[in-house]
Symmetry: C2
Subunit: 158 residues, 2 copies
DNA sequence: TATTGTTATACTCTATAACTATA
DNA sequence: TATAGTTATAGAGTATAACAATA
């Protein structure tokens, strides 16, 4: 018999670990991709003083004038309490405004200001550059496949 | 001419907003899928008092005995400072332990305890049930495609 | 009773910087 | 000079509960 086998155990290279159930889990891979993109996304919108949340809400409001905070909440699948804070900030920066709704004194109708529209256009362009930077090695079909599969994650009812 | 057109503008259904550039962005779809899965993941590991981070580190240590904290850090693409805290917690719960490394007095060799191995097996089973629950409508090929595409997000060098 | 918006709090996770002790 | 580990702090993002005003 020869000495200790060098085949049985895969070489343990420091910093090159590839063993673990993690890497076979869909959830973990989603997390890794999210963190990776999020890092660049933040750097991208940093100079515009926008975060993921403020960008998302601004995007929804720009595309859906007169939308209520509740509807924004539902569209983004976040919490009402979070929406309030984000709308506060965007309103404070004159990017969107709250209008009274004639029919319902509880609700606000949100609307992007002219400044908000301009600002959003700039931000969106930066985000598109960001996506191009990160996903440059993926063609349109592959990106669409990825999006479709990701959306199915949220729709248990097939 | 009839009254105000009902065709020109898509109906704005409160809570059914589907307009916005967001939904065409890969990054946003990754985020949504991540949040959705993360919510269920947390609920899944709540009774075992494990978080995503503690589960991940435990998984790496179980699969790579004698691994250093630096190598864990690199394997998970997190920060050294985060690793310390997580290892502290796992060690405090007797799930892993820090051993002195003969050759390098700076480094620790991490190893899962027997209790840690048992505990991890239980946790992994719960995580697999979680993935099955969320991804039940996706077959093996689709899951693998999703994982492959997600991993390409992190590898700009194609 | 239910819904809209609000406030406050806590927790998870990440980012950053400064520090020590070794190498 | 670089690396392994540590500590502290701040920030983004989310979750939760309780509340007032209105429907």
């Amino acid at each position: 018999m020869p000495g200790p086998s060098r085949i049985k155990e895969p070489k343990k290279e420091i910093g090159r670990v590839s063993q673990s159930d993690l890497f076979g889990l869909v959830g973990y891979n989603i997390k890794r991709a999210y963190m990776y993109m999020h890092r660049d996304f933040r750097a991208t919108l940093d100079e515009l003083q926008l975060t993921q949340r403020t960008f998302s809400v601004l995007s929804i409001v720009v595309a859906n004038p007169e939308i209520s905070q509740s509807a924004v909440t539902a569209a983004l699948a976040i919490e009402r309490s979070g929406t309030v804070v984000i709308v506060d900030e965007l309103e404070g920066r004159d990017l969107i405004l709250r209008e009274k709704v004639p029919g319902d004194r509880r609700a606000y109708a949100l609307r992007a200001t002219l400044k908000g529209h301009d600002f959003y256009a700039k931000a969106l362009a930066a985000v598109h550059r960001h996506e191009e930077r990160i996903l440059g090695n993926m063609n349109s079909d592959e990106r669409q496949t990825l999006i479709t599969l990701l959306q199915r994650v949220q729709n248990e009812e097939d």
